[in-house]
Symmetry: C2
Subunit: 145 residues, 2 copies
């Protein structure tokens, strides 16, 4: 069980932006800081922009910045927006399901309940609650070397 790299990177971008609230950040800076692909990061920023989490502008003075305060960015909402699918097993995909026992199987309902519990935990936290103001200096140090 894994989240996609897209979700992983999206959360990292938001954490980065939350630590530098006073300026627009270029995607190259973020990709260098984390040592991850800039091309992938551009797609991640696009997803975050489409879902209203960030504002991205192009050009010389362009860059990415948070569109809402960190306290208004719910982690559950981010994961719902960036994760491609929550089809835990085949029968969650009604169109392509081939498993014949769906009408009498209790598994789908149980997995739905478990997924809801997973997301409910993420819904309890915002970007602000993941960013300790007192550790900002340490964060800057970690992403700068």
């Amino acid at each position: 069980m894994q989240l996609t790299m897209h979700t992983d990177y999206a959360l990292r971008v938001l954490l980065y932006l939350a630590h530098f609230p006073d300026r627009r950040i270029g995607t190259r800076e973020i990709s260098t800081a984390y040592g991850i692909s800039k091309n992938h990061l551009v797609r991640v920023v696009q997803t975050l922009a489409e879902n209203g989490f960030v504002h991205a502008t192009v050009g010389r003075s362009g860059g990415v910045e948070l569109r809402r305060a960190p306290k208004d960015i719910c982690i559950g909402d981010v994961v719902r927006a960036t994760e491609a699918s929550f089809r835990l097993v085949e029968c969650h995909d009604a169109v392509n399901n081939t498993c014949p026992i769906v009408p009498v199987c209790g598994l789908k309902g149980l997995l739905d309940t478990a997924l809801a519990a997973f997301l409910a935990e993420l819904d309890k936290q915002t970007l602000a609650s993941l960013v300790e103001p007192r550790s900002r200096g340490k964060f800057v140090q970690l992403v700068s070397h």
Copy 2:
């Protein structure tokens, strides 16, 4: 976010066996019933046997049967045994992690909590609670056509 096909098939095998408690079942019968690869199913049965959920014997009268009563097979335990990894994001893999912000990042702890909530829901149910005795006839009908 998905569970592996290995986990999906493992749960289906257990559900099948729970519906036919009175005989050993060949893997061919199960693969035909679900329309899934017999080769993959053999590996799934091996994982289930290694973890004490089923007893598998080879030969003419061989086959697979539950090793414990359905009420003693916890769904959370099955998923823990069959899922290859619960590394939700890169930093859950301490050996291969490249993300530099781990020392100041609250995300790993949050995802650990969410994963625990997911598994806690699965721990509440056993194979028996997923198998309705009154729907056995319907199950047999669904896997027989």
